[in-house]
Symmetry: C2
Subunit: 221 residues, 2 copies
């Protein structure tokens, strides 16, 4: 039933631009907004209490754009976790880079940055240290993977200082995991009690744990 009167159909207008930006740019911006909103809400209210509608409202977008970037809320959580974990890890690496040769300074810088990040970003800390554990789904592997990145970071920090007579890799890995657990758990408790305890106390106590491990490993006198 197409009328042959006018050739209106072909060679229509399109370029993908809107509001000055290209389609891919806008889409990336939306995704970023949603991710930020998700991090904020999940970290603040908890994953179970965070609906997709709420995330969209916080981001100033509508559900359509949520499903443009994520398939469901689990996916958002996974991405949020990945993003924040990466950020956390980066800040620690940045803070420790100048002290890779001095084990004491290295430990102190790493711990101060760890606790510092938590205090400066309570929402993000809650997200990666508390909310992330609860969800099964893909996050299980995700969590394990990111967690291992921390463990490997720690092992990497330690290796240069190790004497030949040190314990095997298996034991070293267990100790590193335990150390990550100690920090994580202290952060969890710290968050839960509203950051009442002074950072220095936490750092000092954790330093003792680390220096004890160092001694067991043959580092330090």
């Amino acid at each position: 039933m197409s009328s042959m009167s006018t050739k209106s159909a072909p060679t229509l207008q399109r370029s993908g631009k809107y509001a000055g930006k290209a389609a891919s740019t806008r889409q990336a911006e939306r995704r970023k907004k949603l991710l930020a909103a998700g991090i904020k809400l999940i970290g603040r209210e908890g994953y179970a209490a965070t609906s997709i509608d709420a995330v969209c409202h916080e981001a100033g977008l509508t559900k359509r754009y949520f499903y443009e970037s994520f398939t469901n809320s689990d996916q958002l959580l996974v991405e949020a976790y990945r993003t924040v974990t990466q950020e956390y890890l980066s800040t620690i690496m940045r803070a420790t880079r100048p002290h890779l040769k001095d084990s004491r300074k290295l430990v102190r810088a790493g711990l101060q940055q760890s606790f510092g990040f938590v205090k400066d970003n309570p929402d993000k800390a809650r997200l990666i240290m508390i909310e992330a554990m609860s969800v099964r789904s893909q996050l299980g592997e995700m969590y394990g993977k990111s967690y291992n990145e921390f463990v490997e970071l720690l092992v990497g920090f330690t290796k240069p200082f190790l004497p030949d007579s040190g314990p095997g890799d298996a034991l070293l890995a267990v100790m590193a995991k335990g150390a990550v657990g100690a920090i994580t758990h202290l952060c969890q408790g710290w968050i839960a009690t509203g950051f009442r305890q002074p950072v220095d106390e936490l750092v000092a106590g954790t330093e003792l744990i680390f220096s004890g491990m160092g001694r067991e490993l043959g580092i330090l006198a």
Copy 2:
């Protein structure tokens, strides 16, 4: 409008007994069944995936009896957490009682029992170490409270061995919290990876952490 024909209302029959047991007994049994079902399902499927209907079905009861014992599923989780935590703590105290004088044996016995309980009761372990953190509500305090019991247990274990020159209580508390965190985190990872790692490796690694802390505290050479 009450008919005066018969005085059928007064002095009716009642004693509360049914199926041989008193009312309070039956009610206690139902509560126990629900609690056991809740522990099993929450530990196995996760809190978010555990509906009240499922708990009732697992317990062989109906919803009416759920609301007889609990006001909502949060309450069930709290009670389940409290119950299992108490049990966990008890088994550790029992296992360590014979070794309160020998710090090395004490640590080893405590750790073996800790990891042993987790492996023997994976559902319960998952419940108190993973699922418990997810819920805000009353569980926040609950978690903190039970968590502190573990910390105090550890501090209690340590105190007899401490020299006068040890660090202050604040530092000691931080270290104990960290130690609990190390164990908890190792258990979490162990659970998540299907208990593949041998217990002895976990115990050995954790022992190193503890003996390192002991050295820092002035215990052991």
